[in-house]
């Protein structure tokens, strides 16, 4: 469940940032990417990505370990 929530949060935030990036290219004077209102969600996004990545890496390591043990048993 937590993985799913994290993944969707990452999708949503990354899409928002892509839209803002395009807007910032169109009108740099609006400072879409340099104000605190951008920086705080961006930090949250980075943390979420990090947590999701760690979960996936740990899961992958466990799976690899399990597969190796199974192969040994066989």
């Amino acid at each position: 469940m937590i993985k799913r929530v994290l993944a969707h949060s990452c999708i949503v935030l990354s899409l928002i940032f892509m839209v803002l990036w395009v807007l910032d290219r169109v009108n740099a004077a609006m400072h879409f990417l340099s104000r605190d209102v951008f920086k705080i969600p961006f930090l949250i996004f980075l943390i979420l990505v990090l947590i999701l990545a760690v979960i996936l890496v740990v899961e992958d390591a466990r799976q690899s370990c399990g597969d190796a043990q199974e192969t040994k048993r066989k």
């Binding site: 609006m30 400072h31 209102v37």
Partner: protein, 341 residues
């Protein structure tokens, strides 16, 4: 005879297994939900970025007030005593532009406004597929050329330019430098310093009526403050180099665009220029074209203000610019109402 019910799978024309179908449905649902959340997220972002004011607060600092415009009347009669030899004094703006002002009447026509302190001539010009508006301004005192904040206060709140112009009883108003859309950029309005962080090229209107433009790196706020600052705008770029048209500018928007800009001829004589753009009848101006326009008008300094959808121009209460009506944070205006400066 009753027939045994036929398993539904036989009648389903779609051969995709049910589980896969369910998964597809689920994926589409979650994709739609994500898009909805993106929309909500962008709206929340816009709320914090455009509407709510979280800009760092600084205490406004009152700078030097503009000098009294008129020389005192000569003393006559018995108290006068021996008449000392008067040193030659510079002409006041009222004397210098005497034919521009009335003796107290207000004369208002479709294209002109004339009173004892203000003279503004409005022109709407169409040439080479561009529509632009020019306000030629004479004033007797620098206090008649003012900066005004939307809603009457320094904040990151915007309002339609015609609303702000009417708030200040502006004869003519031009969209300002978009100070509320960012945290940086020196802001001085009507002799009060609101913000002193740097942003871009700077335009200064001194209390003696001189207007000058500076490259960001050349501007020293402390040194210039001693000369008496009446207005400081931070947007740019500067459009003239010692009265000569320029070809290179510090700006990301070089293409034809709606524009707002202020020009300076001499103390007491200024102009506002607003260019319509991004429409069939008017493509807008490049910075080079705008610079050339100010050189042709005879200005000695000129400065680009916030353009694009923010570019706005109000003449005698009527919005002249077209087609945009984006709310703006501030205006530059001319008004008979000079407040308590």
């Amino acid at each position: 005879m009753t027939r045994a019910p036929i398993p539904s799978t036989i009648w389903t024309p779609n051969i995709i297994p049910r589980a896969e179908k369910e998964m597809k449905k689920k994926l589409i649902r979650s994709f739609c939900l994500d898009i909805l959340l993106v929309g909500i997220g962008l709206n929340v972002f816009a709320l914090f970025h455009h509407v709510l004011d979280f800009s760092p607060k600084t205490e406004p600092v009152e700078l030097v007030a503009p000098a009294a415009p008129e020389p005192s009347a000569p003393v006559t009669g018995e108290d006068a005593g021996p008449v000392p030899e008067e040193p030659e004094r510079p002409l006041t703006w009222r004397e210098k532009f005497a034919d521009k002002f009335t003796d107290g009447d207000v004369v208002q026509t479709e294209n002109a406004y004339m009173s004892e302190n203000i003279n503004v001539t409005f022109s709407r010009i169409e040439e080479d597929g561009i529509i632009y508006h020019v306000a030629d301004i004479y004033i007797t005192d620098i206090r008649y050329l003012r900066g005004g904040f939307s809603h009457g206060v320094y904040s990151a709140r915007s309002a339609p330019i015609s609303e702000t112009a009417s708030l200040y009883n502006a004869v003519v108003a031009l969209s300002g430098d978009h100070y509320g859309g960012r945290y940086e950029g020196i802001v001085v309005r009507n002799g009060v310093l609101y913000r002193e962080s740097r942003f871009a090229d700077v335009c200064v209107l001194y209390t003696d009526g001189v207007m000058a433009t500076f490259a960001d790196e050349d501007f020293d706020l402390e040194a210039e403050s001693e000369k008496g600052l009446w207005q400081v705008w931070s947007f740019g770029p500067m459009l003239l180099d010692n009265g000569q048209a320029m070809t290179e500018f510090k700006s990301d928007v070089q293409r034809p665009n709606p524009r707002s800009a202020i020009g300076y001829f001499e103390p007491g004589h200024y102009c506002f220029v607003q260019v319509d753009g991004r429409i069939e009848s008017s493509r807008g101006m490049t910075l080079e074209e705008l610079s050339q326009l100010f050189a042709d008008l005879g200005c000695t300094a000129a400065y680009n203000l916030d353009g694009g959808q923010s570019s706005g121009f109000v003449w005698q209460g009527q919005l002249q610019s077209y087609p945009y009506k984006r709310p703006v944070y501030d205006i530059i205006y001319v008004s008979e109402t000079i407040g308590e400066d």
